[in-house]
Symmetry: C2
Subunit: 163 residues, 2 copies
DNA sequence: TTTGCGGCTTCCCACGATGGGAAGGTCAAG
DNA sequence: CTTGACCTTCCCATCGTGGGAAGCCGCAAA
């Protein structure tokens, strides 16, 4: 089948299918004489696997790992489980960060009258000279490396930190 | 003062300061005869405002709006409040999406023995032919592994609901 | 004065995942 | 044969951030 059909069946856009092929996430597709890519049900199956993995927040790189785990019939389920649960930890960290933002914003908004007057604790909070009062206090090294880079973003010690 | 000093005082990297200038978020900096950019306390103040806004998950575009609200002394606090609360809604949506992923992954992991045997409901769940059962709902671009840091910053994830 | 170093300048590249769109080839139906 | 839908490759943009090169500037030590 052509790429458009595979796209519809898998829910992965044609752009993405080509991209996954290009980056080596999936093998090079077979070609018709015309040059058109040719897919079979197994290809579609793999694409669906990829899409569902993306839906669960895995990066493409991680999906590469998942595909290996999928095709490796001798690997232990414990390997998969730890892979998944580590990802869950990242997701929870991300949630906690967002939640902290929400809490800060809501507490600022709670003190804002929200009427016609111009005084506004929200803007004042952002403009405060007292630097980091808005930020959640935890500033320990706490590094959790996301795939692709960490980088202890300079806090005040701007330019020259271990980058 | 030079850009490096402004960076240290504001907590915004020199790279980002130039980027913000280039994209028009902040006005063009004054220059010394040497060509070096020159900043004063008001500039640093604005940069700190920007950094704190980023820490709360606003995109650069939104920060442009916040800067306008900041400098507009005649705007109503209600304008600021609705701006902030709408952003809070986006953050909550993002949290809900991530939470759905976490729930799905944890329920799959719950059924995985996590031992030496190869059978694994997690992989099976991803590989299922039954299409979208894992999918919480309509998906949209999510980017949450931003390079970097610890705490609340650039999570990228949070802010970008539509891109 | 010369040397050296660190800071500054601009410019280009990279990332991750995705889409847009142009220029052109292919295929099936009319 | 024409038309229109589909396919191909190639390049560009996104968004926020950093890396790094090539070259100037400023200050201090030798």
């Amino acid at each position: 089948m052509n790429i458009g059909r595979a796209s519809k069946l898998s829910g992965v856009s044609t752009k993405m299918i080509r991209y996954y092929e290009q980056t080596g996430l999936i093998p090079k597709a077979a070609r018709h004489n015309s040059g058109y890519r040719d897919y079979d049900d197994a290809d579609v199956h793999r694409l669906r696997f990829i899409r569902r993995s993306r839906d669960l927040g895995f990066t493409v790189e991680q999906i590469g790992g998942l595909l290996n785990l999928w095709s490796d019939r001798s690997r232990a389920s414990a390997d998969v489980k730890s892979f998944a649960l580590e990802h869950v930890e990242r997701l929870k960290e991300k949630m906690a960060e967002i939640e902290a933002m929400v809490r800060t914003l809501e507490s600022l908004a709670d003190h804002c009258h929200g009427d016609d007057r111009p005084e506004c604790p929200i803007i004042e909070g952002l403009a405060e000279d007292d630097g980091d009062s808005l930020r959640p206090k935890r500033r320990e090294p706490q590094r959790f490396g996301t795939p692709g880079g960490q980088s202890a973003r300079h806090h005040g010690a701007a330019t020259k930190v271990a980058h």
